[in-house]
Symmetry: C2
Subunit: 467 residues, 2 copies
């Protein structure tokens, strides 16, 4: 493999103008059908060539009996056929102009068939084809409206997920759709015969739609290259990682799953801190931290003011903030006085947390705008603990004033919650499922800013130092 | 207050045959409307008397200008009027036969009006009325189809939530509805002028529909009584608690919110361990552990076998199991051999985790049934990491064989996931959002069984001891 420019050829993967689905199926229960359907229904605008010797038409598209029979040029080959047939078919695809391939098929090294994986490797070297997989769940890239993966996800957003587990990629993407947050890309790496996580980090670092990269790793084939890339990307956009194989049993399972060498966990942990990667320990925190990192900035500070309609939720938030070493400063007496005379509910408790009691969205706006006149907070956490309508409008007005320093937790709000959350996410304001998850996600931003500062990038912007 | 039988009169709260909604409103944006609507739309079968001097009909019901004007007997009064009017109105309600009241209204001790709270207390003492609240979000009790609370939740299930925060109760109940798990009761305690968490624990301990009690506390008014009750209930059904006010800032906020004395956190922690209460540290784990405790039993063991369609999800599960001190035993060679010859996918990795790769639900059933022939597991965790249809059928068949020793994580499955999860929940099989959350919830059951054993209840049943 030519190592001089590892990321070369990725544009044919992400921006392919034509796609052949080799192994397209008429049977809706098969992956060869689902992937074709997702490409078609996901809005892809390029040419689509299904290939299957036993079919003539699928989903209204002409099916070709072989790769050779495809009438036009193929830029990207998506392959869903038995492993032994893959190397030969990719050689043919290359002759038809293909520059990249997504090999969904399993049955290679992970099943003890290293011979087939080696054969595929040889094809890649001889043809220059860039390969995602094998044994993967494909690629979804919204800027090209190409969902060569499953399930079908079309909501565009700032989050790119790159994962050694197809399920993890699908789960994070699924949450992003359910919450109307959206994704820019979802990449399932599989066996990483050719393209690995670092290739995608380098590509996505330059991708305009992507504002944060969420990684799930079981191990890194070339740890040094990953860390160097992370260090470069750092100045540009945040990377958050969930790495499994933390325990001995987990490490053994990781080796079976994707042949990854999980390595010593403490070493990985230290490397993340050194090279500016935010490490998290659960799937939810991978998603939550990606959301916060894509949209919040505390500018080097760590003071959080909580405004809430629920006393209990407010307490859960400040407990967690204390535990995580964020600051929950008391309100300056002048700010408290102004709040007292600003027509909040008579039962409101003027403190931090500021408990509005059951209150309309306008009270949140009023309170946050008063607080923004004092140097109280690096971040405003607004907690809607009831079905409060028009929350999104109020929060958007707060953001106009304070910039990307406002986060939301919305809970106990039923259908009102779901629609208001969607409106806030479409406006780029992150909404978290619970106060504790909000605080944990905010801490990720503080950590990232501290790592950036340490790496010297942050210092240049002249912001104050993290304690 | 008469302390001889603290739980007396609760049947008029839970099983009321008639309810007056004092402060019922025509305005759909007001609580006085929402609560009336939820009682009506929640399926309540008893008499409903809205009271409001300014309305004649709301939601098709005749409205009475005063409590005195109600034509029949009132068993339960639900009160949503300004605080200063509450004591007088409750005296009237008592004269009309009321034995219990839910005071939604705020504006009492929590707002510095201890005088009003005292006045209300006097009414309670003089009339014998049992009071939930004031300053609370009410009560939802599905066996009586009475939702005197918000939002409207009607799905019946095994979970009772009792909470010092209305938002926490609503959030947990909301999750239970979204996932078709259901609730038996949701109680928002408010200021606990009369009835406190222990009264509800004692009532729910005897409630047939309730299989687990989830508590959110900021403090306990009578800690000893709570712990003694917990110890008694232990032999009957599990209690899981989320207690906030863990940090100094949180403790101060708790004092403002419900006048609770949060106490020292370590003391509470030790008391939970001593008296058989499972303590958790987040809202999700309160919900997850309630689900696992209501339906799983490991019979004193702690060995988990993981069967998964997703390698990555399997690794996350076993990592977490190791971290939480569950056992992930290797498969006995005879079991492995039988699995190898049992027509699973050719790429399946026969180990623990057992990675079926993308596989139909039948493969999960096949694998779990083979494993059940060997003494491998105290609990089977089945992880569906793809949109796998008919998962519920397969899991139900596994449960027929192994009993309440099967838990599920389902993720990355889109709409298929949602419908299969609902079917499993309706069958009483707990489904968790991620592998890590599943493992944490399973650990709660292990902990509870160990606490029971320690309390001597478990020993009597002759099961083996927890290590």
């Amino acid at each position: 493999m030519n190592n001089r420019n590892k990321s070369a050829g990725l544009s044919s993967l992400f921006w392919a103008r034509s796609v052949a689905v080799i192994g397209a199926s008429r049977n809706p229960e098969k992956l060869g059908y689902e992937i074709l359907a997702n490409i078609v229904n996901g809005g892809y605008q390029g040419d689509v060539f299904p290939v299957n010797p036993k079919a003539e038409e699928i989903l209204g598209l002409t099916v070709y009996p072989s790769v050779d029979a495809v009438p036009g040029e193929i830029e990207l080959a998506v392959v869903v056929i038995p492993a032994p047939l893959v190397p030969g078919v990719l050689s043919q695809a290359s002759e038809k102009g293909a520059r990249a391939a997504i090999v969904i098929s399993g049955g290679f090294a992970e099943s003890g068939r290293s011979d087939l994986e080696h054969e595929l490797s040889t094809v890649a070297e001889e043809t220059g084809l860039r390969i995602l997989g094998p044994n993967c769940q494909g690629l979804n890239y919204r800027p090209n409206k190409l969902c060569a993966s499953w399930p079908l996800v079309t909501a565009p957003g700032p989050l790119a997920v790159v994962s050694q587990s197809g399920t993890v990629a699908a789960t994070v993407a699924g949450w992003a759709v359910d919450e109307a947050y959206g994704i820019s890309a979802a990449v399932s790496l599989g066996n990483q015969l050719d393209l690995c996580e670092t290739d995608f980090i380098e590509f996505l670092a330059e991708d305009k739609e992507t504002r944060v990269i969420a990684l799930y790793l079981e191990g890194a084939n070339d740890g040094r290259r990953l860390l160097r890339a992370a260090e470069r990307v750092m100045s540009n956009k945040p990377i958050v990682v969930l790495k499994s194989g933390r325990t001995e049993v987990g490490r053994q399972a990781a080796t079976s799953h994707t042949r990854s060498l999980a390595g010593r966990d403490e070493v990985f942990d230290g490397a993340c801190r050194q090279f500016g990667i935010v490490r998290v320990s659960s799937l939810e925190s991978l998603y939550d931290s990606a959301k916060s990192l894509s949209s919040l900035r505390l500018n080097g500070g760590r003071r959080v003011v909580v405004v809430t309609s629920s006393g209990g939720a407010g307490i859960l938030a400040v407990d967690e903030a204390e535990r995580r070493n964020l600051e929950v400063p008391p309100l300056p007496s002048r700010a408290a006085k102004e709040l007292e005379s600003s027509e909040l509910r008579p039962n409101a408790i003027i403190a931090n947390p500021l408990d509005l009691t059951v209150a309309p969205a306008q009270d949140f706006q009023k309170a946050a705008l008063v607080l923004s006149e004092y140097d109280v907070a690096d971040l405003y956490l607004l907690i809607f603990g009831d079905p409060i309508p028009e929350a999104a409008d109020a929060v958007k007005r707060v953001r106009q004033k304070v910039g990307n320093r406002v986060a939301v937790a919305y809970l106990g709000g039923g259908e009102t919650e779901a629609s208001e959350r969607a409106r806030m996410h479409q406006a780029g304001i992150p909404v978290f499922a619970t106060p504790q998850r909000a605080i944990a996600a905010i801490e990720s931003v503080v950590l990232w800013e501290a790592l950036r500062l340490k790496l010297g990038e942050y210092e240049k912007s002249g912001r104050k130092q993290v304690a």
